[in-house]
Symmetry: C2
DNA sequence: CCTGTGCATTGAACTAGTTCAAGAACGTAT
DNA sequence: ATACGTTCTTGAACTAGTTCAATGCACAGG
């Protein structure tokens, strides 16, 4: 049950059996059906969730009513609204399951408890956030500097599994282009 | 000398006089003239720098030779290439002073030493990276979802001081639009 | 078997933003 | 004062990407 998540945390710092046992008592396993919301705009995000199985999207609705997908999360990813979670302020994001999911939830209180009892987790979370920041910066650079076809090719190269599990509408919304234009890009690419 | 940076770190966690003294022995004060590089593409970034005085830009050159500014750093900001710094891999970024600067440098080795001697700094750095991540996510959302005039108005609202210290060419390159188009936006706005 | 619903495609008209080239405005060194 | 580099502005032609509406297509439900 805990193999995957243990392997994940051990990649960043080496934890003892005992430390992992404490960790296990503080995370909650839950299954969530497809098309349910873990978080909606206005709520305060009280969890960080690890995806053991399934697929999730984290998105935002802009002033014109457009969905912008910030992140897909599949197996071995974490999902949360970090701004809302840490500053306990209402979220601007939606987190929705795209498939039936098996998840581990870590609440704010349990995270603090974990950090108190196993301070080594400070380092784990710092490294995790650093990695996330550096990939977000990369995405920002690509979003600004690359053309739509380049962004699409990068996406399917970087996330081959995700690109086969989500609709093209979702991919377009992640890339920040219209679904129609993505379709035109795809037909053009397939003709080459 | 250390008042500003001490106030900065104390905002995240409360440090004792003694802990701050250790911190002070591990950071290096340096002045750097205008238009010098703290980092260039291909180098490994071995520092995180706190800006006591001055203005810095952190940018990237894309395949078509365009500069994309990732960050401006003025007084009380930190600047680094976090991907290069933490994974010790060659940087894709340039970090250049736009004014004469007074900086504190924290090297990789000194940071590790600091974390070993004052573990409370783990928490400080985690919170700092979290904040940075959440602002980068915000910027990503804006970059994808907003029109160029909106982005510009947001920028001058969010960074009124910066927008008066850097050229419009730099602002355009931060916003991901051409300098000419920014100029057209500005004349249009001023006519209203 | 038909029917509805959600997803992908296509085309035509449109628009936001780019590119290029020329000129204006400004500070500063000579 | 003049000349020079640097920044900013303006216009005209262009292009990448959008919008809207129509069409096809697959597959789940009755």
């Amino acid at each position: 049950m805990f193999e995957n998540i243990d392997a994940f945390v051990n990649r960043c710092a080496n934890f003892t059996k005992n430390e992992l046992d404490i960790f296990h008592t503080l995370i909650d396993f839950k299954t969530v059906n497809k098309k349910e919301y873990l978080l909606q705009e206005g709520e305060i995000c009280n969890f960080e969730a690890y995806v053991l199985k399934g697929c999730i999207r984290n998105y935002f609705i802009d002033e014109n009513g457009f969905e912008v997908i910030l992140q897909f999360a599949i197996e071995d990813w974490w999902v949360s609204d970090i701004a809302s979670f840490h500053e306990k302020k209402p979220s601007k994001l939606y987190i929705e399951t795209l498939e039936d999911c098996e998840l581990f939830f870590l609440t704010y209180e349990n995270k603090e408890e974990l950090l108190k009892r196993v301070p080594k987790f400070e380092r784990f979370f710092r490294l995790m956030v650093q990695k996330k920041l550096s990939s977000t910066q990369n995405r920002l650079i690509n979003t600004i500097a690359k053309s739509a076809p380049e962004k699409y090719l990068d996406f399917i190269k970087l996330y081959p599994t995700i690109s086969q599990r989500v609709t093209q509408h979702h991919i377009a919304s992640y890339l920040g282009i219209s679904a129609e234009f993505l379709s035109k890009i795809r037909t053009k690419l397939s003709k080459q």
